[in-house]
Amino acid sequence: MLLKITFTQQRRVRLAQGLWLMSWLAVMSGAFIFCLGVYLKTELLRRAEVMDNTEIHVVPNILMMVGLVSIGTNWVATRVCQDSLDASRFPRWKLLLMAWFAVAVLLCCLLLAVVVLSYALQGRLEESLKVGLRNGIRFYKDTDVPGRCFQKETIDRLQMEFRCCGNNNFKDWFEVQWVSNRYLDFTSKDVKDRIRSNVDGRYLLDGVPFSCCNPASPRPCLQYHLTDNSAHYSYDYQAEELNLYSRGCRQALTDYYMEMMNSTGPGVLSVILIQMSVLVSLRYLQTAVEGATALEDPEGESVGYLLEKGVKETFEDVKANVLNILKFAQVDPSAAEGSPGAEDAEKPADNTTEKAASPTPSPAS
């Protein structure tokens, strides 16, 4: 027996009561996990326009699913607790409890996986943002193309809200034509020169949109001729830090989402702890109550344990059971001759286990 504890009737009652309270706490924490998942999902969906793929959505999806299943599972645990001290109603939960333990372990594993994933997917998130932002900047000028007309507003709003400029920094805007041809005067010499000097015939300039402007700058914002020191009075391009936002939007968004996911880490870990303690306590309650019902005096002491045999033996048993189930599921061509033989082979095996089990009560009696 693994980690056995003796339980008197009073201790069993206390355990049932405490477990009932803890199960309701676990229901609340399941609801908390669900709400956390919903919150993360809405935040990710809000910026879906600058993300290229939705791989990162697996984190909030798992959280929502785990939250819902956890609410149901722990509610079942509360019902089991309520019935545990009633000897007539407890036996009907026997089969369900096995499944319950499996589901609870699965939930804990999924929650751990979520914590690991939220760190592991950071690279994928950055890639997705890189591509999304690059497209956004490229289609900034296409406010007349259906399907892309919102890009200007999205990028402007993003840059102002997250206080960032461009993909890596503001120089990304120098490499893209962000002023549409509709607003360029092709008769002007300056425009013609610029377009001719570019290989692809694009109108590139060393300027940025107004949404890159930093309101904390002491000077009214300089947007155009940024690299030309002589174009503005008392201006040094290399030394100027406050004029525009210096952070890139990819970095800003990645930091924002990573911070959000990291701050949920402690919450998820404590929910895992609560779920594990409910699992362990319910196992003790189940074994203690079953032990008590098997005694002549149901109100007497009984032994509660985690596993009946050691870890290795339990594992072998479980493996044998699973293989048996698989064997019965398969179509056996030699079933007609083989099954009586299999039954005969099983009978001596049962006899040996009975013989092994029978000596143990005699020393006690």
Binding site: D144, W178, R182, D185, F210, S211, C213, R219, P220
Partner: protein, 354 residues
């Protein structure tokens, strides 16, 4: 002649107690919502959030007590515990709901106070926009920029307000350039005025990159018509935008508080009916019988008169009795009808000559 008398059977009383218990718990939740609303608004507005926080907390406390009382009212023995507290509780709650109503009405009346203060504040802020090197005013540029971006507005009444003030500091003006000197000389006060606006006035919904400088000069920009251009800059003035924003908040708060008030009033009415019907049951002696519940035992006028008399007599207890000139040793025959035992014979008066 009771006010709004209603007959209550035992089942009706029990049902009323249960319904009131649930409603009281809902009120506790509403009180908690008001409290958190007050906390949330605390960073934006000055005085109103404190009122909301106070209202929320008091509502929680009162309704928690009310829930407990109603839960116990199903059982007449437990009701005896609360009997003496119930009437003061109802009176307190009535005053509280009255204050809540006053608060809600105040929310609707605030807005013309706001307009004046907003007007003054914005003009000053715009005037000191360029003074980012003056201590005490260096943050105004940032404040005005953030305000214009957040509330999607430009200037006090419109973007033309920026044409009338110098919003570019002299530190960034090249005084050796002819154009700059020309502009300054052409202005009476020597200010550098231009037909341009700060970047925070730019409208993000514009299909075109923002035109900030030389706004009134059509020939300075390609395919640009100053009069018809509406999407380039924010058209609304900041005073108007701020006023609308705060009025909207106030009205929402006022509506929430008003609904809370109606709810509290209905719960209070239920508790009053429960109290009077249970007291009548105790008076009749049989816990399972029917009883009457009412709002007031007598009509309004009589109740008011009775209460005034009580207050007057309380006041009289402290006063000196003028009939004896303040000397407590003089025997003044009492004016009220004294009850002298079963045959009503007054005792022999001891006179001084006997």
């Amino acid at each position: 002649m009771a006010v709004l008398r209603v007959k209550f059977t035992k089942t009706k009383r029990d049902k009323l107690a249960q319904v009131l218990w649930i409603l009281n718990w809902i009120s506790v939740v509403t009180g908690a919502i008001l409290f958190s609303l007050g906390l949330f608004l605390k960073r934006d507005i000055q005085y109103v959030p404190n009122m909301l926080i106070a209202v929320g907390l008091i509502a929680c406390a009162i309704n928690f007590l009310g829930g407990k009382i109603c839960y116990d009212c199903v059982d007449t023995t437990k009701f005896l515990r609360w009997k003496l507290i119930m009437l003061p509780y109802i009176i307190c709650t009535f005053f509280f709901t009255f204050c809540v109503l006053v608060g809600a009405l105040m929310c609707y009346c605030m807005h013309w106070e706001l307009e004046e203060s907003l007007n003054l504040g914005l003009t000053e802020a715009m005037r000191f926009y360029k003074d980012t090197d003056t201590p005490g005013r260096c943050f105004l540029k940032r404040t005005v920029d953030m305000l214009q971006m957040q509330f999607q507005c430009c200037g006090n009444n419109g973007y033309k307000d920026w044409f009338q003030i110098q919003w570019i500091s002299n530190r960034y003006l090249d005084m050796s350039q002819k154009e700059v000197v020309g502009r300054i000389r052409s202005n009476v006060n020597g200010k550098y005025l231009l037909d341009g606006v700060p970047f925070s006035c730019c409208n993000i919904n514009s299909p075109r990159p923002c035109v900030q400088q030389q706004i009134t000069n059509n020939s300075a920009h390609f395919n640009y018509e100053h009069q018809t251009e509406e999407l380039n800059l924010w058209m609304k003035g900041c005073r108007q935008a701020l006023l609308e924003y705060y009025t909207h908040i106030m009205q929402s708060i006022g509506l929430t508080v008003l609904i809370t008030w109606l709810f509290e009033l209905s719960v209070l009415t239920g508790v009053r009916y429960l109290q009077t019907s249970l007291e009548n049951v105790l008076r009749q002696g049989d816990p399972n019988s029917e009883s009457d519940g009412w709002l007031l035992e007598n009509s309004f006028m009589e109740t008011a008169r009775m209460n005034l008399n009580i207050i007057k007599s309380l006041g009289k207890g402290n006063q000196i009795d003028t009939a004896t000139n303040g000397d407590p040793n003089i025997n003044v025959p009492s004016t009220s009808k004294a009850h002298y035992g079963p045959d009503n014979v007054p005792p022999k008066q001891i006179t001084e000559d006997s």
